[in-house]
């Protein structure tokens, strides 16, 4: 009797000894890796939000530290929840990948080899995306010094005991090397397509790895590699549509991917349902949509000052991205790309085909001594989808520098609210512009200043004696 009552077994969780017992459980674990990535603290919302609000496009309305006020005012210290929670969630994703890869090796016989390779690829892609994301906030840009600065600790082995608390930060370059290794190893094993549009959007396939590589290389300033990878997904001339695997292309209306979440434009998105939403105060719609019953909480509105993109002359009122995604409420303009009501089950876009086109356009522009015609064609493909008759003023395309600038501006318009602004500022070594809210003016932050990147979280500093703070 004793033995029995003293050895109860949890009825709501599964023992580690049985977690790889069946193909179904292994597949559930793959979904589990995505679901960790999808945490509200990370790709479910906050990672994108932080990268947007660090920049100049948005103004903080509510002075609430819980919803990113300190991030917005470029005044985060190592004890802040934003810094600690995102780091912890990202590394939780990484460790779950590492645990999974080890378990997969130990239980390889239980599943079909094709599936095995595919799962390995997915896990590695998730790890690569996570390391990439960590670098964007906690490390100096690769482009500053070819990655010689301190990056983040590179954890590649599963951790489940009290050992190994201490680990040094690898350099930015070393972490990128691992990211590219993971992506290059992932690509061949990943399936070309899945059986449904939903899976094609919410699970990684070959083109996902390729698209992500264009982003990674662009961030590193390795433009030739962006072109190599981008060419796998984008034909030389219009119509632009991926030639193999999932046949990615832009939707006719820019609004479509934000209501029909599983079109071929969405290369990767985080799926949301009412039963599986991003969680309180993590939701894109809650932050960006106007406040009001049935809307969001209007945490951030668009900056009307000239620094902000809202009133940039390159973004005319006729543009579908303005007519569809901007609304005015209480005298302020709000972004309504994410328009679902509570619990805000809008899918979170991670990679869209439009980004790949702009990545490729910029890489072409940056590697050409004259304004790249292909770059201009790709730029126009994105622009004219939303403003069919729009033609750029020739001066905006006249020199490589002007063209690059125009492409960067187009990224601000096309990708607003999708977590790119801070990354684009940092990889181009630009000063983060200042901004003024009704309660607080925030000064610009130059690349030389500490506030340019986030501090290493205090929880890591307390437990990892080898970590060097930023």
């Amino acid at each position: 009797c004793d033995k029995e009552i003293l050895s109860p077994v949890s009825e709501t969780a599964i023992s580690d000894a049985n977690a790889f017992d069946t193909p179904t459980r292994i597949e559930q674990q793959i979904n589990g890796l995505y679901s960790t990535l999808k945490s509200g603290q990370f790709y479910g919302g906050r990672y994108l939000i932080y990268n947007d609000i660090r920049g100049e496009e948005f103004i903080n309305r509510l002075d609430n530290l819980v919803t990113g006020k300190a991030v917005w005012s470029l005044n985060v210290e190592s004890g802040r929840d934003e810094v600690n929670n995102l780091w912890a969630t990202a590394y939780s994703t990484i460790n779950r990948v590492n645990v999974f890869l080890k378990g997969l090796d130990d239980n390889a016989a239980k599943i079909d080899p094709t599936l095995l390779a595919s799962y390995r690829g997915e896990a590695k892609l998730i790890r690569a995306l996570t390391y990439y994301s960590l670098l964007q906030l906690y490390a100096k840009p690769f482009t500053l010094d070819n990655g010689a600065s301190l990056g983040v600790p590179l954890r590649l082995l599963p951790e489940s005991t009290g050992a190994n608390n201490d680990l040094v930060r690898s350099t930015v370059a070393q972490v990128y090397t691992q990211i590219l290794l993971d992506l290059n190893e992932a690509e061949p094993g990943l399936p070309s397509t899945y059986s449904t549009a939903l899976l094609n959007t919410t699970r990684a396939h070959k083109n996902t790895a390729i698209a992500l590589k264009t982003r990674v290389y662009l961030t590193m300033g390795r433009y030739a590699d962006v072109i190599t990878e981008g060419n796998k997904l984008v034909p030389a001339v219009a119509p632009y549509r991926a030639p193999t695997g999932v046949l990615h292309q832009l939707q006719a209306s820019v609004a479509t991917p934000y209501t029909n979440y599983t079109t071929v434009e969405s290369i990767m998105s985080m799926p949301m349902t009412d039963a599986n939403p991003p969680g309180t105060q993590n939701q894109l719609g809650y932050y960006f949509n106007k406040a009001g019953s049935g809307f969001g909480n209007g945490e951030y509105y668009l900056n009307t000052a000239s620094a902000g993109i809202l009133n940039n002359p390159l973004w005319p009122a006729t543009d579908a991205r303005k007519t569809n995604f901007i609304t005015v409420s209480g005298g302020q303009s709000y972004l309504i790309k994410y328009n679902k009501t509570s619990p805000f089950a809008d899918y979170v876009p991670v990679i869209r085909y439009a980004e790949v086109l702009l990545n490729l356009a910029e890489a072409n522009a940056r590697t050409s001594v004259t304004p790249s015609l292909r770059a201009i064609a790709l730029l126009n493909a994105v622009r004219q989808r939303s403003d069919a008759t729009y033609n750029f003023d020739p001066t905006n395309l006249a020199t490589p520098a002007a063209l690059i600038n125009t492409i960067l501006t187009e990224r601000r318009i096309e990708l607003i609210g999708e977590g790119f602004r801070s990354i684009d500022l940092l990889r181009t070594n630009q000063t983060i512009p200042g901004k003024i809210s009704p309660t607080e003016p925030v000064n610009a932050v130059a690349p030389t200043e500490k506030a340019y990147i986030w501090p290493i979280p205090i929880n890591e500093i307390r437990t990892n004696t080898l970590i060097v703070p930023n």
């Binding site: 589990g32 600790p153 608390n165 209007g298």
Partner: protein
């Protein structure tokens, strides 16, 4: 030749006849009892000259026989009760008990305006520290016996009611606190014994490390049936609310900060930057709107409590039946506690050798509370009333003149003419619109038997069940507040807690060769707790008419609060008490305890202790010495024991688990808990040395105790580097150690007894030092978190959960900036808004300094009181009685986080102390130049030492004045006794602490984050008027 002696025995107090008094002839075994009228008759041999009168609760008296009538007056013995110590699985006479314990009589509790007995124990016993976390009704008090006894596990003592260990804590998942200990009617409690040292608690093995509170409920007493009615009515008001700015002060002060911001940012001439954001609005009568939010949140509250009991006993049957009704309103609006209880205790002798006991306690308790923001984890909620009452702008309406709530379409309090946000939610609206309740139905029952197998050998077996069903309901309105975004939300939870316990023991009691007294016990016990919780969540209420879960909603969310828990203990135990001639005493305890939560193969642990005492005053040499003239008792005692703690926070804490969830519509499985295959007991090695003295026939007694508890192999939620990605970033490990060391002193005295005047007093003092001696690998600090803020740190060389804050050095008189001290000891000043290109953080010479962060914080002091105690006085003069209970505590610091909020320079309203802010160069002050938006200089961004204060205090926790009505009046009405009284609870507080109360604990029972006040509601002061009637 015999003669017949007759007489009457009466009580000295009120002259009533005493039935059931036993009368024996000295030196003879013959005896009798008084009848219902207190009369007796006894046949006495001629050679006998003395009669001995004894009665429970009264001092025995020996009377010399003169004539044939001997009338005796017996004096009640306030110490009689305390002469018996209830130990685990038995009782012992105090003189024979060699461990360390304290006893509190139930009388202390029964007339107090409290919800649970724990609240009434403050200052009553040496070594026991009790804190009321805030003024929310029925939230569990923090009880610490001899300091903090763990870091990651609970430091709450084990609660045993009539032999059954029961669950403690808050079982409500919503805002309405629901303390399981509130299910016990304090009026039913006869006594509480608090076991403090390992030699006493190790009989409870794994669960005794933080002390054991043994509750004994009332039993009937031989004699005429007694009927008692106790009733009181109470009035409660909040105390010590901070003085905050009124509307015109608010407008002026905030605008000054706005203008300072504009100037400091170099925008003096920039019309795009506002110069003022706050403007008045006028009432219909032309006066400016000046809302006192305190009046929206707090009230004068009325409470009542009634208990009726019937008890009695024959020589075969003892019974106690009671019913209780309590209806208490809190001083926070919509805070209410209702409890209905019934208890039946019966004890039946079937034959000479067979006895049965049965107890049953049935309780319904219903708690209602709004979102007070005062329960653990709620400190920073934007709808917490404790916070809303102080920070909401006073220059806006609570309710508009047309009767509608002043709320904005963006779910904030309407901002009137202000151009800035003016608050979070509207307190008046959320109080009216939202509902939170938690209701428990509980049955606590025991049936047991005692069998006398042979002379001296007894078998006792008890089976108990404790079943609690808790239904917790919440509704958040779509109109305003936390339910706004989700368009209305209802969440219902059902919790079922089952606890059964079966214990059996054999007891052998014998005296050999007249002087060797042996009392031996062996026993077996098994106990199992199971928990099954489930709940539902519905959102988007279909129609404003619906405000229950059962109404219609358009969105049914996944279930919430689902949990299944199971935890069991199994043990064998033994105890041997031996004394030689009533002078030398030895006790040894041993328990082998199994605990289901520990790792396989490590579930069992052995615990035990030995204690010994020497009653010097019983020695011949002492009795013959002069000392014995004044000193009636000298005893020294000592104990050493090892006791365990295995109260893991999770039932499956040692297991490696994968949890299942969702990824969109697909199910998932993720690594969710890193277990530990070697997880075993946390052990506490405790030494106790005591000296007991009695003077003047024990009229004055003195107790002194030294204790040291070494806790090894602490089960720590060992922090892991977040980069390892361990779920929750912690692993339960047997790592770390700490100790508690201290002394306890107690004096009990009948100070004065002159005619009708009597003064009894007891004072107790405890001094305890806690120090952490090692932590997880590398001795990494453990942060203690108050929701969004970290003000505590647990670090080797300091006490658990020490207050940790950044040092400051006042305000720079030149520019009004707050000066901080960084880790390197350098002064760094802060200005929130600056010219472009200039830094917020500068050294005193103006050069750029690295930003101050939490990493610059330093330990400010212990969050745990180093000394505390009580001073209790009972005066009586004839029929009048007066009780004064003082409590005191100190040696600790408190992080007054609420003050950071009260000085926050966002739209927050401020305490009036900000009016002494810096305005002019050269001015010396402690309040910086206000800059709108500044949340750093006041300590909101990270804790600063300017908000750390000493926690010393003296409180008159209760003063009661009572009057017993004259007996002659009552006899006619056939009423035994009537006492009326008036009392005040929390009468006054003497302290330099400026926050609401030095006993506040925003983080409740937390070990890692004690001593923090952050946005909690204050305490109340209660006046009660009561009546005790005996028939």
């Amino acid at each position: 030749q015999d003669r017949t002696i007759t007489g009457t025995v009466t009580a000295k107090d009120d002259g009533t006849p005493l039935p059931g008094v036993s009368i024996t002839i000295k030196g003879n075994k013959v005896g009798t009892q008084t009848n219902l009228d207190g009369r007796y008759s006894i046949q006495v041999p001629l050679n006998s000259s003395e009669l001995v009168f004894s009665y429970v609760g009264f001092i025995s008296k020996t009377a010399i026989i003169k004539g044939s009538t001997v009338n005796v007056v017996l004096e009640s013995d306030s110490r009689a009760l305390s002469e018996v110590v209830v130990t685990g699985y038995g009782t012992q006479k105090r003189d024979e008990f060699t461990g360390s314990s304290a006893k509190v009589s139930g009388d202390v509790l029964k007339d107090r305006p409290i919800q649970s007995f724990g609240q009434g124990l403050t200052g009553q016993a040496a070594g026991v520290n009790i804190i009321q976390p805030n003024g929310v009704l029925n939230n569990p008090p923090v009880i610490r016996v001899r300091g903090f006894n763990s870091i990651s596990l609970s430091s709450f003592p084990l609660i045993v009611v009539d032999g059954i260990p029961i669950v403690s804590g808050d079982v409500s998942p919503n805002n309405a606190a629901n303390n399981t200990l509130g299910d016990i009617n304090p009026s039913d409690i006869e006594s509480i014994d608090i076991l403090k040292d390992a030699a006493s608690t190790s009989i409870y093995g794994s669960r005794g490390a933080a002390g054991v509170l043994i509750i004994t409920t009332k039993k009937g007493k031989q004699g005429q049936a007694k009927v008692n009615l106790d009733s009181w009515f109470g009035i409660t008001n909040p105390t010590r609310l901070p003085d905050i700015l009124n509307a015109s002060e608010y407008i002026a002060y905030k605008n000054e900060a706005v203008l300072n911001s504009k100037i400091s940012g170099g925008n003096a001439a920039n019309p795009a930057v506002a110069s003022a954001l706050f403007f008045p609005i006028n009432n219909p009568d032309g006066s400016i709107v000046d809302t006192r939010w305190y009046d929206e949140v707090y009230r004068e509250a009325y409470s009542q409590n009634h208990s009726l009991s019937i008890s009695g006993a024959t020589d075969k049957t003892t019974y106690y039946f009671s019913a209780g009704l309590s209806d208490q309103d809190g001083f926070i609006k919509r805070n209410n506690f209702k409890r209905n209880t019934a208890r039946f205790n019966v004890n039946q002798k079937v034959t000479d050798w067979l006895k049965f006991v049965g107890n049953i306690n049935i309780t319904n308790s219903k708690n209602e509370a709004p979102n007070t923001g005062s329960l653990p984890g709620q400190a920073f909620g934007t709808s917490g009333l404790g916070r809303l009452a102080v920070l909401t702008a006073p220059n806006v309406y609570a309710v508009n003149p047309d009767g509608s709530y002043n709320i904005s379409s963006a779910n904030l309090v309407g901002q009137g003419n202000n151009l800035s946000q003016s608050g979070f939610t509207n307190a008046a609206a959320i109080l009216d619109l939202n509902t939170f309740t938690s209701e428990s139905n509980r049955i606590l029952a025991t049936v047991g038997t005692t069998i006398n197998l042979v002379k001296g050998l007894t078998l006792t077996s008890n089976y108990s069940v404790d079943k609690i069903t808790t239904e917790s309901i919440s509704f958040s309105s779509p109109v305003h507040g936390d339910g706004f975004t989700v368009q209305g939300e209802a969440a219902n939870y059902l919790g079922n807690r089952n606890n059964w316990n079966w214990s059996s023991s054999l007891n052998y009691n014998k005296t050999f060769a007249t002087k060797h007294n042996v009392d031996a016990l062996v026993g077996y016990e098994a106990q199992e707790f199971t928990t099954r919780n489930w709940g539902g969540l519905r959102q988007q209420v279909a129609d404003p008419f619906f405000n229950d879960y059962q109404g219609n909603y358009t969105l049914n969310q996944p279930p919430v609060g689902n949990a299944i828990g199971q935890r069991a203990f199994a043990a064998v135990f033994t105890r041997l008490n031996y004394n030689y001639g009533g002078k030398y005493f030895v006790t040894a305890n041993l328990r082998r305890d199994g605990n289901s939560t520990l790792a396989a193969g490590r579930k069992y642990g052995n615990f035990g202790g030995v204690s010994a005492g020497w009653l010097i005053s019983e020695e011949g040499f002492f009795k013959n010495s002069k000392l014995s003239d004044n000193i009636s008792k000298i005893r020294i005692k000592g104990s050493y024991g090892v006791v365990g703690n295995g109260n893991l926070p999770s039932d499956f804490g040692s297991n490696f688990l994968f949890g299942s969830g969702l990824y969109g519509a697909s199910s998932t499985l993720v690594f969710a808990q890193a277990g530990n295959t070697e997880l075993q007991w946390e052990t506490s090695k405790q030494t106790n040395i005591g000296l007991d003295l009695g003077f003047l026939n024990d009229r004055i007694s003195f107790e002194a105790t030294y204790f040291k508890n070494n806790i090894d192999g602490l089960i720590l939620d060992a922090p892991q580097s977040p980069s390892k990605g361990i779920p929750g970033n912690t692993i339960l490990q047997n790592i770390g150690s700490m100790y508690n060391q201290g002394i306890e002193l107690g004096i009990n005295a009948s100070i004065l007894e002159k005619g009708k005047f009597k003064w009894n007093a007891n004072i107790n003092y405890t001094n305890v030092k806690n120090e952490v001696t090692s932590l997880a690998t590398g001795n990494a600090d453990i942060a203690g978190v108050t929701s969004l803020e970290t003000a505590n740190i647990t670090r080797v060389g300091y006490s658990v959960g020490s207050i940790n804050a950044v040092k400051t050095a006042g305000i720079n008189p030149d520019n009004g900036r707050r000066i901080f001290i960084n880790k390197a000891g350098q002064m760094v000043q802060y200005q929130h808004v600056n010219l472009t290109g200039q830094s917020r953080w500068t050294f005193m010479d103006g050069s750029i300094a690295p930003a101050i962060t939490l990493a610059d914080a330093q330990i400010q002091g212990s969050a745990i009181p180093k000394w505390y105690g009580g001073f209790n006085n009972n005066f009586s003069y004839g029929r009048l009685d007066l009780g004064l209970q003082f409590t005191y505590s100190g040696g600790n610091v408190i992080y007054n986080g609420s003050q950071a909020g009260l000085r926050d320079q966002r739209f927050w309203n401020n305490q009036t102390d900000v009016l002494r802010r810096w305005t002019t160069p050269g001015q010396i002050t402690d309040i910086p130049r206000p800059i709108f938006g500044d949340n750093v200089s006041n300590g909101s961004a990270f804790p600063i030492d300017a908000n750390v204060e000493d926690g010393d205090f003296l409180r008159l926790s209760n003063a009661t004045l009572g009057y017993k009505l004259p007996t002659n009046l009552l006899t006619k009405a056939k009423i035994g006794s009537v006492r009326i009284y008036a009392s005040v609870n929390n009468a006054f507080l003497i302290t330099n602490y400026t926050g609401s109360d030095p006993e506040t604990s925003t983080n409740g029972n937390s070990n890692l984050a004690p001593g923090v006040e952050r946005n909690s509601v204050p305490q109340g002061r209660t006046f009660t008027f009561g009546l005790n009637v005996g028939f």
